[in-house]
């Protein structure tokens, strides 16, 4: 009997060890292959210039239009989604606590929305644009991507806020705070490291998604100067370059992927440093 338990223990330990390493190895392989193929093609002109004529046939130019466009789009939609999503998540966890069935229904629908592929959001955004007669533009992209990341953000924030103990809610209320004071002065602080992670997760989805922006932001070689103009994005830029038959252009696609990865990395690190400032105040229950 004891023998069997030991074998089980051994088996699952090995299984966990293999799975964990597998994940890390796959991640490293992806990064390595992007760097291996992308770094040789990465040059200063690549990230400092917009495409010149014939760029997609291997001529001069860079992807500055897509870098700026992606930053505009993803920062814009992350801000908009936070402005809408954070109050929703707080509302669910501070004010609606008594109505558990209602919260569960909201969670269910958010999970459904989370599961909808981004191309469907793209198509939905496109339909609305046609209805209002809007052309492909940065604004249309921001709105579509916002719709697409809100369920992700709200559920991620919700999971974090759920971990705030009800005792803290009672404490804050018994000091005479209203529910909204409790939400913004207590819950926000207690959960801030996790909330930053939720925002980051959504930012990552926003900057990395190609399908939702395909119909809505369009593509252009220029850097947008207003919300009404079509805008290039990195994922689409990678897609266009990768589908070129010219090898040099394909390599540039990998260079663009390096740029995209570095942007996500830098923003993650910055946001985590910022969250650390509040981490020390978090009470560990």
């Amino acid at each position: 009997m004891k023998k069997r338990k030991q074998i089980e223990e051994k088996f699952f330990r090995v299984l966990m060890f293999i799975s964990t390493n597998l994940i890390v190895i796959i991640l490293l392989l992806i990064i390595f292959s992007i760097l291996y193929k992308g770094l040789p093609a990465l040059s200063w002109s690549m990230i400092s210039q917009t495409p010149k004529g014939g760029f997609y046939f291997g001529k001069e130019g860079g992807i500055l239009n897509a870098i700026i466009g992606s930053l505009y789009l993803s920062i814009g939609s992350t801000l908009l989604a936070t402005a809408i999503g954070l109050p929703v998540a707080l509302f669910m966890n501070v004010i609606l606590v008594k109505h558990k069935r209602f919260i569960d229904t909201i969670r269910f629908f958010l999970d459904l929305l989370w599961g909808i592929p981004s191309i469907v959001y793209g198509a939905f955004g496109f339909t609305i644009m046609i209805y209002f007669g809007i052309q492909t533009s940065l604004l249309a992209g921001i709105i579509t991507v916002t719709l697409f990341i809100i369920p992700i953000m709200v559920r991620a924030m919700d999971e974090v806020l759920k971990t705030v103990p009800v005792g803290l809610l009672e404490t804050s209320l018994s000091l005479g705070s209203t529910h909204s004071e409790t939400a913004f002065k207590v819950f926000l602080r207690q959960a801030s490291p996790g909330l930053v992670t939720a925002i980051l997760l959504s930012f990552g989805r926003a900057i990395g998604d190609a399908a939702s922006v395909l119909f809505t932001t369009g593509y252009t070689d220029h850097i947008p100067t207003s919300l009404g103009q079509p805008t290039a994005t990195l994922p689409l830029s990678i897609f266009f370059q990768l589908s070129s038959p010219i090898e040099e252009v394909q390599e540039r696609a990998y260079a663009s992927a390096v740029v995209l990865t570095v942007i996500i990395l830098v923003i993650s690190v910055l946001a985590r440093l910022y969250a650390k400032r509040y981490q020390k105040h978090k009470i560990n229950f």
């Binding site: 008594k98 803290l168 705070s177």
Partner: protein, 253 residues
């Protein structure tokens, strides 16, 4: 309402879903005394206490009927602002819940939300209430440190100071020493005896010895009902009910 009665609970019934948690509760809690609500775990004593400052509003499927009078105001059916009502009652929970901010702001929080924002008067009040909870000497040099860095005994005293800072008339304490070591527990108990000069204290506990040490008035609860209530002397020395006698002997079923 009789003079000297601070909280009067009348025919209070509380259901959660189909469960009948509190059954026909009638309790009179005297002013400026320590009233201990005593009883085994799960008898409804915490729920009774939470209904006194309407924290029961937070729980799903809770239905309350009856009246709770505090200063002659029926708080279950009042037009009064619930936040003002709650400020009259400091709450001390089973384990300390410091706010996720520094020590100073933990005390200042309650003061600020009730409109006292002047820096100098805040400083004075923070010091005053930290001293009142016997915490000042230990934290005076690190008021800007996170409250999370304090030991659990210190955190509980911080919570007491924070509760006192909003100027309550009543202190509701829900097994406030159950997570603490004996020395910290003793500190809290001694503080309570000191505080009863100015505050009405309601203490929930299942620890018989603690009740005997500090109670002036005892409410014994069992299975959602008040079995017996009276002065500490009456209940501990001459219990009328069989259930109380058994609990006091420690042979509880």
């Amino acid at each position: 309402m009789d003079k000297g009665i601070k909280i009067l609970v009348k025919d209070l019934n509380l259901h959660i879903g189909k469960q009948h948690i509190l059954k026909n509760i009638n309790v009179a809690i005297p002013e400026k005394k320590i009233t201990v609500i005593l009883g085994p775990s799960g008898c409804g004593k915490t729920t009774l206490m939470k209904s006194m400052n309407r924290l029961t509003d937070l729980y799903p499927d809770v239905k309350v009927s009856g009246q709770i009078y505090i200063n002659n105001e029926d708080i279950l059916h009042t037009q009064m602002d619930i936040t003002i009502l709650r400020q009259k009652m400091g709450l001390l929970s089973q384990r300390p819940y410091p706010l996720p901010m520094n020590i100073y702001n933990n005390i200042a929080y309650g003061l600020r939300i009730s409109g006292r924002k002047k820096k100098r008067s805040l400083d004075g009040r923070v010091e005053h209430y930290l001293k009142m909870a016997n915490l000042w000497e230990e934290v005076k040099d690190r008021l800007r440190d996170p409250a999370s860095k304090l030991s659990i005994g210190q955190q509980q005293r911080l919570c007491l100071a924070r509760g006192l800072a909003v100027d309550p008339e009543i202190i509701l304490a829900d097994e406030p020493t159950s997570a603490l070591d004996p020395i910290s527990s003793q500190a809290i108990e001694e503080k309570f005896i000191e505080l009863k000069k100015n505050y009405t204290i309601v203490l929930v506990t299942h620890v018989l010895r603690q009740a005997k040490r500090i109670a002036d008035y005892v409410v014994f609860m069992y299975m959602g009902e008040v079995v017996e209530q009276g002065t500490a002397e009456e209940v501990f020395n001459n219990p009328r009910e069989e259930k109380t006698k058994n609990y006091l002997k420690g042979i509880f079923y």
